[in-house]
């Protein structure tokens, strides 16, 4: 084996182990297995079913075998210069290329089948979300190790050069070499029980419940009088009482639901944010939280892609905002683990957080406002469309008076207008701040160099008004701002591209 390895020239296309055919067959069969299972489930007793199954299954297995062989035979990989190149595919031929320095990690794994066959899978992860694309499913272990070390060697060679150019040795703010575990850092937030109660009651997700409640209440009370008149004239009192009871039940149900939501919210808050302690260190933000399950998260500052602040009127009244720290997704971590939230920050704590994470941050001066009228128009149209079924329903109850329901549409539009007044983006060379929200305010701070891609979108309706939407893609998610004037949107995009492309700072 060692001699084979010495002659194993990875700069030329190489194949996997022949046992890869078996791996591929079994993978393809997984789909068939479900079908086979249902077959058995239905006709295990009837012998003729077995005959049919054999007749059908045999050619399928043969096809899969042939297909698996071609999958194996078409799969080649090589390391050419600074790139890992993989060719694969039977019907759809794929050629994948990864720059060695884009590789985040290399995993060697084996599942049961691979263990039996004596091969391993080698998976290359980049910062993108599709890690499973770059996988060599059946390689002999010594070869896999060799490939892995070769890739790491090349990667380190590049990183060494880059690091020496950029920063030298990793230091803390005092210029001394830092040890991440020893540093105590500055305590940012430490939540008390009272804080938790305030947070629980002012949770954002209640707003949908309250709005629904208000809407239902409002609509029904408006038309209750008409309904009562109608029914008392044409139908007997029994129906009227039933309706009364029904309405009362509905009201009760809605109130109960609202109260229940508040309770659930408070309980969730306690479970999740109990004794939350957020600490700001020179290289990371640490958040310790949780009642039954204590969660200790350490977010390296360079992995933070952006921070989103949220407020609502109740929270503002007690002087709080909540901050959601969005970091780049790593392979193997689920969405849940990524959500680092500090639910109650006072304004000076917010300042400390911003300055700690985004060094030298200051409010960018150039501002672009979204078109408020566009929001108003959009709301009007949506409101109108939603009201159509309501109007049709009520027409059968109260006749043409039902058309007055459409008066709600302009009201929704007015709310849209005022919401639109709050939507704006401020930007400078290093930072962007997106603001939106009337009662439920949102503020998103994104360093420009964290931008992975940009898009400017539109549709036929807003094109007439020369409006566009702009989306910012980061490794922690996408944020957008809508209804910007065409010229400002293009300018924003061109400027941010310039910032992202001319930045020499590593985005992670």
């Amino acid at each position: 084996m060692p001699d084979e390895l010495k002659d194993w020239d990875l700069s030329q296309p190489q194949r996997q182990s022949l046992l890869g055919v078996v791996v591929y067959i079994l993978r393809n069969m997984r789909a068939l297995a479900a079908l086979a299972f249902s077959f058995f489930a239905f006709g295990a007793i009837n012998t003729s079913i077995w005959l049919v199954f054999a007749l059908v299954a045999l050619p399928i297995v043969i096809i899969f075998l042939v297909f698996a062989y071609y999958q194996y035979s078409n799969f080649t990989f090589q390391v050419n210069g600074e790139e890992l190149i993989i060719h694969k595919g039977v019907f759809v031929k794929d050629r994948l290329v990864v720059e060695v320095d884009r590789i985040q990690s290399i995993q060697i794994t084996e599942n049961l089948i691979q263990r039996i066959l004596g091969v391993v899978a080698l998976r290359v992860d980049t910062a993108g979300s599709k890690g499973s694309e770059l996988e060599i499913p059946a390689l002999e272990r010594p070869k896999a190790e060799k490939l892995k070390s070769l890739l790491y060697q090349k990667k380190d060679a590049i990183l060494e050069d880059a690091r020496v150019e950029q920063e030298g040795v990793v230091q803390n703010k005092n210029g001394e070499p830092s040890d991440p575990t020893e540093e105590t850092g500055e305590v940012l937030v430490h939540l008390t029980i009272l804080d938790l109660i305030k947070v629980g009651i002012t949770e954002n997700h209640l707003r949908t419940g309250f709005i629904a409640l208000a809407f239902v209440f409002g609509t029904f009370s408006q038309y209750w009088e008409y309904l009562q008149d109608y029914f008392s004239d044409s139908v007997d009192t029994y129906t009227e009482q039933a309706l009364n009871a029904g309405f009362a039940a509905l009201t009760f149900f809605v109130i109960a639901f609202a109260v229940f939501s508040v309770l659930i919210s408070v309980v969730r808050t306690f479970l999740r944010f109990y004794d939350l302690k957020a600490t700001l260190k020179s290289e990371a933000v640490e958040v310790n939280t949780g009642l039954l399950k204590r969660n200790e998260s350490r977010v390296p500052i360079r992995k933070i892609q952006f921070i989103q602040w949220e407020g609502n009127p109740l929270r503002k009244a007690v002087g709080y905002e909540s901050a959601k720290i969005k970091q780049s997704n790593s392979m193997g971590e689920t969405e849940r683990e990524q959500k680092i939230e500090i639910p109650a920050l006072k304004s000076d704590e917010t300042q400390k957080l911003i300055q700690g994470v985004f060094e030298g941050f200051s409010e960018p001066e150039v501002t672009i406002d979204a078109s408020s009228w566009a929001y108003a128009r959009f709301n009007f149209i949506i409101g109108f469309l939603i009201l159509i079924p309501a109007a049709v329903f009520l027409y059968f109850q109260v006749g043409w008076v039902a058309a007055s329901v459409f008066l709600i549409a302009p009201i929704i539009a007015i709310f849209g207008y005022f919401y639109g007044q709050t939507v704006r983006i401020q930007y400078s060379k290093n930072y962007m701040v997106i603001r939106k929200g009337l009662f439920f305010t949102r503020r998103i701070v994104i360093p420009s160099y964290k931008i992975q891609a940009l898009s400017v979108d539109g549709n036929l309706f807003i094109d007439r008004r020369h409006l566009r939407h702009v989306s910012f893609y980061t490794a922690a998610g996408t944020r957008s701002i809508r209804y910007l004037h065409e010229r400002e949107a293009y300018l924003l995009r061109d400027y941010l591209l310039y910032c992202a492309e001319s930045s020499e700072v590593s985005w992670m």
Binding site: V92, R95, D101, G128, S129, I158, S455, V456, Y490
Partner: protein, 168 residues
């Protein structure tokens, strides 16, 4: 510290809107028609079969509706085709698509994670292939440029790789 308030003026920046977008070869349109036709085959036969049990104006209604949808789809492909294009600059790649809902997505080279050139069996008949560029920004920002000449795709991919390495 001198207090500054520099206006950010458009003329100073390279403007993406003024760049010429490279269109797809015409046979890409035919490719789309073909694929679309193949997809419509199934619902069309289903409707035809269904029509055996229907009578009178219901028949016209269902088939008529189907034909309208197909016509709209084909018209959409045609209009969409004239809008699609990519723009290659020194530091980024942009792709524009859509006509009712349209978007122009730009990927800076220094943010590209890896690239992929793939060719399906039907694409092969048309000598076309797809260039896929992956970023760290999630699958919505990954660019997928279909309908490229084989050589064009390879050249683009090699160009991008080189640039990605330089601007790493």
């Amino acid at each position: 510290m001198t207090w500054e308030n520099k206006q950010i003026v458009g003329d100073m920046l390279p403007a993406l809107e003024e760049v010429n977008f490279q269109k797809h070869p015409v046979r890409y349109k035919r490719y789309r028609y073909l694929v679309s036709g193949m997809v419509w085959f199934i619902p069309l036969t289903a409707v035809v079969i269904l029509n055996i049990s229907l009578e009178g104006y219901w028949r016209f209604l269902t088939i008529g509706l189907m034909l309208i949808l197909i016509a709209f789809n084909f018209a959409s492909i045609r209009i969409g085709f004239s809008r699609r294009g990519y723009a290659l600059r020194e530091r980024d790649l942009t792709y524009r698509k859509g006509w009712i809902f349209f978007s122009t997505t730009t990927l800076p080279f220094n943010r590209i994670q890896h690239t992929e050139v793939s060719q399906g069996p039907i694409e092969k008949k048309f000598d076309l292939c797809t260039l896929k560029i992956f970023t760290a920004g999630g699958s919505t920002s990954d660019l997928s440029i279909p309908g490229l000449e084989e050589e064009e795709a390879q050249q683009l991919r090699d160009f991008i790789s080189k640039k990605a390495a330089i601007y790493a």
